[in-house]
Symmetry: none
Subunit: 338 residues, 3 copies
Amino acid sequence: RSYVKYLSFLIHCRIMRPDDANIAGNVHGGTILKMIEEAGAIISTRHCNSQSGEPCVAALARVERTDFLSPMCIGDVANVSAEITYTSKHSVEVQVNVLSENILTGAKRMTNRATLWYVPLSLKNVDKVLEVPPIQYAWKELEEEGRKRYEEQKLERLVTKERNGDIIFPVINPEPYTVGCSQSSLIHLVGPSDCTLHGFVHGGVTMKLMDEVAGIVAARHCKTNVVTASVDAINFHEKIKKGCVITISGRMTFTSNKSMEIEVFVDADPFVDEPKERYRAVSAFFTYVSLSKEGKPLPVPQLVVESEDEKRRFEDGKGRYLQTKAKRQVQMQPLTQQ
Amino acid sequence: RSYVKYLSFLIHCRIMRPDDANIAGNVHGGTILKMIEEAGAIISTRHCNSQSGEPCVAALARVERTDFLSPMCIGDVANVSAEITYTSKHSVEVQVNVLSENILTGAKRMTNRATLWYVPLSLKNVDKVLEVPPIQYAWKELEEEGRKRYEEQKLERLVTKERNGDIIFPVINPEPYTVGCSQSSLIHLVGPSDCTLHGFVHGGVTMKLMDEVAGIVAARHCKTNVVTASVDAINFHEKIKKGCVITISGRMTFTSNKSMEIEVFVDADPFVDEPKERYRAVSAFFTYVSLSKEGKPLPVPQLVVESEDEKRRFEDGKGRYLQTKAKRQVQMQPLTQQ
Amino acid sequence: RSYVKYLSFLIHCRIMRPDDANIAGNVHGGTILKMIEEAGAIISTRHCNSQSGEPCVAALARVERTDFLSPMCIGDVANVSAEITYTSKHSVEVQVNVLSENILTGAKRMTNRATLWYVPLSLKNVDKVLEVPPIQYAWKELEEEGRKRYEEQKLERLVTKERNGDIIFPVINPEPYTVGCSQSSLIHLVGPSDCTLHGFVHGGVTMKLMDEVAGIVAARHCKTNVVTASVDAINFHEKIKKGCVITISGRMTFTSNKSMEIEVFVDADPFVDEPKERYRAVSAFFTYVSLSKEGKPLPVPQLVVESEDEKRRFEDGKGRYLQTKAKRQVQMQPLTQQ
């Protein structure tokens, strides 16, 4: 019964402002990711509280890989709609679509299509995961396909947990186009408006900061106007609490002819009132492209890899790049040919 | 045909954050007014560009008197929907409804119902008012009633233009509960994200700042938690440009047993690149109530009026108060009985 | 004639919000510095354009050393007033006072008293410094004292230009309480709202970011609630343009029993459209204190200095500390006795 209710639920229309965009007028991928996550959080929290029971807040557990299909500019209206597409016992799958609308011409283009997974956490005891009210499916096949997606992401989440041990070391006087030359990091003090009712950082706030660092790494590398082309699946293993200082660091791992892959880590320091050590909260890969003044993709300077680790990461990145390219040939066309 | 399309169009769902609210957790009236205006601007700009012709942006001309019917708190989701209810040759009437939704309990309450008037200004020549595509009405009576509202507000706009000549002078060492004791002002440098595509301040940005000043005046007077109960009709006579400095000043004009009326002026200094003098851009009356910790309306200390002007303004305020009270007895019940 | 007009000009009343403060509810020193600079920029830009001539924007050249005399908290109203106290041929001295007002009790306390120097830059040619209309002084002595302050700061600006060559190198696996252990850096992409009409970063935006980094360094060192006690004189030698990436780095230089001195550097990378190299834009010393839950100053762990440079900087810091302490005994009492 719930299914019909949530179908194509429009959550948001917002005019894009100068502060949402870079100097060339392209809206930051991070701004879009933040809107997507806010829509997902609203619809899943609403659903998880739809049956009487312990009150809860839906916390972001994972965002599936997502492509930025067409650019959004200052003055455009972002139309964000969300739909619950699957529920397991303890998690909710939300599909969010973002259209960019030129309100002067009326033209609408799909900007982004994202899939997010949320888990309901009790408001009284934040470590307690509650049960999710089941949705009804229009066709039996929809449930079956959802279950498959659920199992796949569950497996992947386990795998990436391993990857999270790495640290970005600073480099003194790096050579041009090396990894050390463009790597960047940012610290942010988590304020009240970054947080949910639990006092934990919204997933969207974290993704916006990650995109900001990735964008700076990309711009430092190619010194042109850069935009987010896609974001790898992101897993949120550990929560981040209000009052923490978070360090977001990014380094380039791979370049193709027309794209750059940047790995981003988020580390949290719970320094004020807790004995806990610094911990890795999130990590992800962002793909950026470089654009000319006319908005056409430009060639990207090759990344110079030096150490064995850098070479290995470059090969891994190439693997991800080729895999995505192969997948894409059977699917829709993205923002750029990369 | 257009009518059906716009009916009950949901524009916005947003989680209310700590910065949207006062220390007691009540969302500022100004935050709500800003969301309302953004919804109105999107839907009317979209409509005015729906037929091919000169591209335009809808500029806010007037907001009708509006009551805040129930409080909204941090963590609530604001649901903002908008509908075009009347079009004249050169203006659009938009009705915006705001519901506050407790996503934990699912309870929804009407917070605000506002009527806004927009005028389409050409993007190429900002002084040129364009024609508005007509909407179709489900019943003939709807058009007739809309025309009546249009004529009424047109008349009122002419009248208020006169009122705008007053200035708030600072008072040294004022006595408690006098007008001088609580009057306040705020200066704001108009930045790019405050502005439309034309480079003029969004009406909603101005209203938010006006509510902020009114709230400080009210809190200084009664030294308790205060919330916006209603806003008088506001006319936007003159546009305010990017780069201006605006001064927003407020003074108390009237107190009833349980409410305070605050007059707010907005003056713009186009000081940098223009020979123009400081001018009065907007003025309005805000009504505030004082709330106990349990959210019940508290008695308000009487305003001490000293000069002849203050006495006259007090009497005018009393007139508005009694008129509103009389109207309200035939309509729905507001936030407080005042 | 201008003098009377600007005397005790109240610029600003603003309610302090959760995002303006740390988790203990103390408003960040950087938030206050940003409000001070905005007030100074408005009053000096207005003054410099008060005679017909080339339109200009006043750019911040220097802020004199300033103490934070009493804390400001969430819910307080900050009252910011500004006054032009001296004009030379090409610069304006502005005195800004900040009072924190508890609107529930009506109590007001002086939080900050700052002196800022501005220089009018032509809007058409940003490298051209224009002439400042002279103010009239109530007494001849006021002009004389102003001239003395003007000469002193001019001399000091020349001296500090030398100091600016240092770089903060990263440290791998630092020991507790060493300089390397708490040093921090932050990158920020300069957005439109950070900038003046010229497209250069507001001095106040830079100071806010500097205070943020200093606060993180201090909190990492003593792992308690920390607040800004004072800021050394800051000189703004080089402008920072919209679209730049700025790196703000801080390291601890000195600790007394109850205070910490943190040196902060701002470096700008004009990487997108210019061949220019990274340059040092600003540097300054911030003094922080650690507060108990009751708001009393706590003892601070001693800084462990290792290298010769660190020892030298510690001695320099001690010199500044003793000098300030001596001066303070003939003046008014600050926030803490340190």
